[in-house]
């Protein structure tokens, strides 16, 4: 089995792992992580296809390689947007439902993990 085939199968497995995490994980942040794993698998498949198309003195077909670079940037943008949405959602949930769950008193009050914020400048 060639290295390209080996990594091609790995890409397929990564897609399966990422998809499973994306669908089953209840925590949105973990879904975002799984999305990135899934993306990693997709990009790796492009890489394998590029490698198989090595010709003309290039180690790989540059077209899929360029596509992967574009794809990685798009994936990062997606992650950033999803994380921002998630953070705001949590803030908003904590603001509107302060009585729910434990000792949350209203907006951005200090909790045990808050010691590392504040201070600074």
């Amino acid at each position: 089995m060639s290295a390209a085939t080996l990594y091609g199968l790995s890409a397929a497995a990564l897609v399966g792992i990422g998809l499973f995490g994306l669908i089953t994980h209840p925590d949105p942040l973990r879904k975002i992580l799984a999305f990135n794993l899934l993306g990693g698998g997709v990009f790796l498949l492009f890489g394998v296809i590029a490698r198989r198309g090595a010709a003309a003195g290039f180690g790989g077909d540059p077209v899929p390689q360029a596509i992967v670079i574009t794809g990685i940037i798009v994936g990062f943008s997606a992650t950033a947007l999803a994380v921002a949405l998630l953070q705001r959602l949590f803030e908003e949930n904590n603001r509107t439902a302060p009585q729910a769950e434990g000792s949350m008193q209203g907006a951005p009050t200090v909790s045990s993990h808050d010691g590392d914020r504040g201070g600074g400048d």
Binding site: S10, F20, A55, E101, M104
Partner: protein, 314 residues
């Protein structure tokens, strides 16, 4: 040959193991750390697949900046006792697992039945790369043959940032993103943040510059520049800028807008959108890369910094 094969096998197994761990481990923090490790390992895979350009991007984005973003999110979300949605039932998870296994098998079959010899565009790219005068075929594809993808991609980045900003509450508009630094003043970090950026900026610009002929380019170099900026912000030497500043917005838009203008100039001069007049192709491409770099770097940094908040206006 055997050594290389064993290495590939070990690498592939490690990548899959780390990915599995990332999905299955309970603690979110551990999962994020696993993901960063995953990004670095996959970068090695890219080198093994002879795609150094991609390896650079992978390290910079997946291993680096996504890691920073997700670690920051983990830290800030930990403050909230989220109403954790209940885990889906065992049967449901089993059904999903079966579905994912089917997807895996279908993909594996497809991978094994890919045609041999593989179709490739490498020869035509090589044949006409001279038209651009570039030595790096990936840059030739990104800014030449498929320049429109790259053009739209810079808009994607910008729109993602607009999306992130739009998530801020009304009262915060005109404020700055939350400061990135924590834990008072860490002297070692402050020292590092003064020491490293001059070196980092040189390296970032070098990677953009060399991208025409060797692995590199605006995204890789821009990420390094963004990282330097973020380091300075994390050390508390600078705060993130206010989203209302017109200078900042101009900087964000300058890169993509310049790319569009070059494209339209091509329409007027060379008879085609994004067509470059032959003798000047390489300088034009380099110019586009250099103008795009600051916009890309600032956009990436601000995407990590997140939406503006009110109390940071000060």
């Amino acid at each position: 040959m055997i050594v290389a094969g064993a290495f590939d096998l070990a690498l592939a197994v490690t990548v899959l193991a780390v990915a599995t761990w990332c999905v299955s481990v309970r603690a979110t923090f551990a999962a994020v750390v696993a993901f960063v490790a995953f990004g670095l390992l996959v970068a090695v895979v890219w080198v093994r697949l002879a795609a150094v350009d991609v390896a650079l991007t992978e390290v910079a984005i997946q291993g680096g900046i996504v890691g920073v973003l997700l670690l920051g999110a983990t830290a800030s979300l930990r403050r909230y006792k989220a109403a954790v949605a209940e885990r889906s039932g065992a049967t449901q998870r089993l059904a999903v697992a079966v579905f994912c296994a089917v997807v895996f098998l279908a993909l594996a079959t497809a991978v094994l039945t890919l045609p041999d010899p593989a179709p490739t565009l490498a020869p035509p790219v090589a044949a006409s790369l001279l038209a651009f005068g570039l030595g790096n075929p990936v840059t030739g594809v990104l800014l030449g043959y498929r320049a429109i993808d790259t053009l739209l991609e810079t808009v994607v980045l910008l729109l993602a940032l607009i999306g992130v900003w739009s998530i801020s509450p009304d009262r915060s508009w005109g404020g700055r993103p939350l400061p990135m630094h924590s834990a008072g003043r860490a002297d070692a970090l402050v020292y590092f943040a003064r020491l490293l950026p001059p070196v980092g900026i040189v390296i970032g610009v070098y990677i953009v510059w060399v991208g025409a002929d060797a692995p590199g380019g605006k995204f890789q170099g821009g990420t390094i520049l963004a990282a330097m900026w973020m380091l300075v912000m994390m050390a508390g030497l600078r705060n993130p800028p206010s989203v209302a500043r017109s200078g900042l917005r101009l900087l964000l838009v300058a890169g993509p807008a310049f790319f569009f203008i070059v494209g339209l100039a091509g329409l007027a001069i060379s008879g085609g959108f994004l067509a470059y007049p032959a003798p000047y192709a390489k300088p034009i491409i380099l110019l586009i890369e250099l103008v795009l770099t600051p916009s890309v770097a600032v956009t990436l940094g601000l995407l990590v910094a997140g939406p503006p908040v009110r109390d940071a206006r000060q």
